[in-house]
Symmetry: C5
Subunit: 92 residues, 5 copies
Amino acid sequence: MIVGKVVGNVVCTPKHPALIGIRLLLIRQYVSGQPKGLMVAGDPLQTAGAGEFVYLVDSSEAAASFRRGKVPVDLAVVGIIDRYNSTKCTLT
Amino acid sequence: MIVGKVVGNVVCTPKHPALIGIRLLLIRQYVSGQPKGLMVAGDPLQTAGAGEFVYLVDSSEAAASFRRGKVPVDLAVVGIIDRYNSTKCTLT
Amino acid sequence: MIVGKVVGNVVCTPKHPALIGIRLLLIRQYVSGQPKGLMVAGDPLQTAGAGEFVYLVDSSEAAASFRRGKVPVDLAVVGIIDRYNSTKCTLT
Amino acid sequence: MIVGKVVGNVVCTPKHPALIGIRLLLIRQYVSGQPKGLMVAGDPLQTAGAGEFVYLVDSSEAAASFRRGKVPVDLAVVGIIDRYNSTKCTLT
Amino acid sequence: MIVGKVVGNVVCTPKHPALIGIRLLLIRQYVSGQPKGLMVAGDPLQTAGAGEFVYLVDSSEAAASFRRGKVPVDLAVVGIIDRYNSTKCTLT
C-alpha cells in the first residue's frame, strides 16, 4: 500500500463512460518520508482534501474499492492517515 | 494511473485474434511533468489524438475497459486530461 | 514474496468501510539483507510484532488472505520467518 | 504493453503440467528504442521468429491469451510489430 | 517470467493457514545473466533443488499454480531450465 499526500485534482471531459462521477486526485507519493513522483488516483471516500496524507491501494483492489462494477481505475485512496507509531522511521 | 502524451501509433498484421480492431497508440510517459520512456497502449475511447495528454490504467482494468471479453491489453487510455489544479506541481 | 521487518503501525480514522477491523503495520522492506523503503501492509495473522521478520504477498493474493470479501489491501503479512537455510546469502 | 525483440528460446523438461506444449521465447526488452534486460515469454501466436520485434502483455492478460484454462505464464507475445508512425521517437 | 537460481529455503512456524504444506524456496534472481536480489517463492513442482536455474511466474498465476484454492503466494517456480538457445545473449 502506497503512502502519498493530496496535492490537487485532475479534470477531463472526454473519458471512459465507467469513469463518470469518479473524482480524480493528484497525489505526491512519499517513500520512507521523502516526496517522490506524482500520481493520479481515484477517490472512493470522497473526503480526502489537499495537504492530507493518505494511503492507497493499486490494481484490482483499487477498481473494486468503488463498489460499482468494472471501474477503469488502478490506484485509489482508501484511508486518511491520522498518525503512525514507530520510534525508528519517518513515514510522512 | 499513468499520465502520458500520445506521440504516434503502432501497426501489426500478425496478432492475437482478440486484438483485431483494437487501436494501438504510442505513448510517451510523463512522470511529474518530465518525459520518460515510450509505451504501447490500447485506445478504448477511439478519440485520443497525437499531442494530447491522457491518463491510462494498467493490468486487468485495462483489459476490462474494452468491454468485449478477454482482450490481451495491459495498458489503456481511459481519459483525456483537460486541466489539473495544483499550486505546487507540474503534471504535464 | 517480499521480506520485511515490522517497525510500527498506522492509525487512520476516515477510511474505506471494508478496511474496518484490519490491522495496518508499518514494514521496512529488506532486499538481500539490506533495509530499504517503508511500506504499509495489512495483517491477517494478527500476531506479527515489532522487530519480527515477516514475508508478505502483494496484489489480489493480499486481498484474498483476509478471507472476507473484497478488502482494499494490496500487501499482507502471511508468515513470520523463523529461519532460513542458505550457505551463500543473507536474507534478513 | 512491452516491446521486445525475439532473441532465442528456452527449453525445460521438468515443468508445471499446465506448461506442456507452451513455446517459451527469449526476449530482449526495448525501452524507447534501447535494448534492455532479457525476459522469458510464452508465445500463443506460435509464429514469432528470431529477430522480430513483438509486443507483449503481462500478468493475467498473458495467462488468458492462451485460451486454455489457467496457464502459469505472466508474459506473452500478442503481436508482431510491422511498423509504427511517429515523427518524434524511436520504438524499436 | 522471472529467471532465478535456487539458493536455499525458508522456514516459518506462524503462518497463514492456506500456506501450510507449501514449500518456500530462497531464489537469487538473474537478470540478463547477472545475479540480482533475493526472493522467496513457492514451489508447486516440489522438485527444484539448490543450484538449479528455474523460471518463475508472479501474481495470480503464481497463486493458481498450486491448484488448491486461494494460496497467498505471489511468486512460484513453474519450470527448471535445461538449456536455452541464443547466439547473442546469456540468460543464466
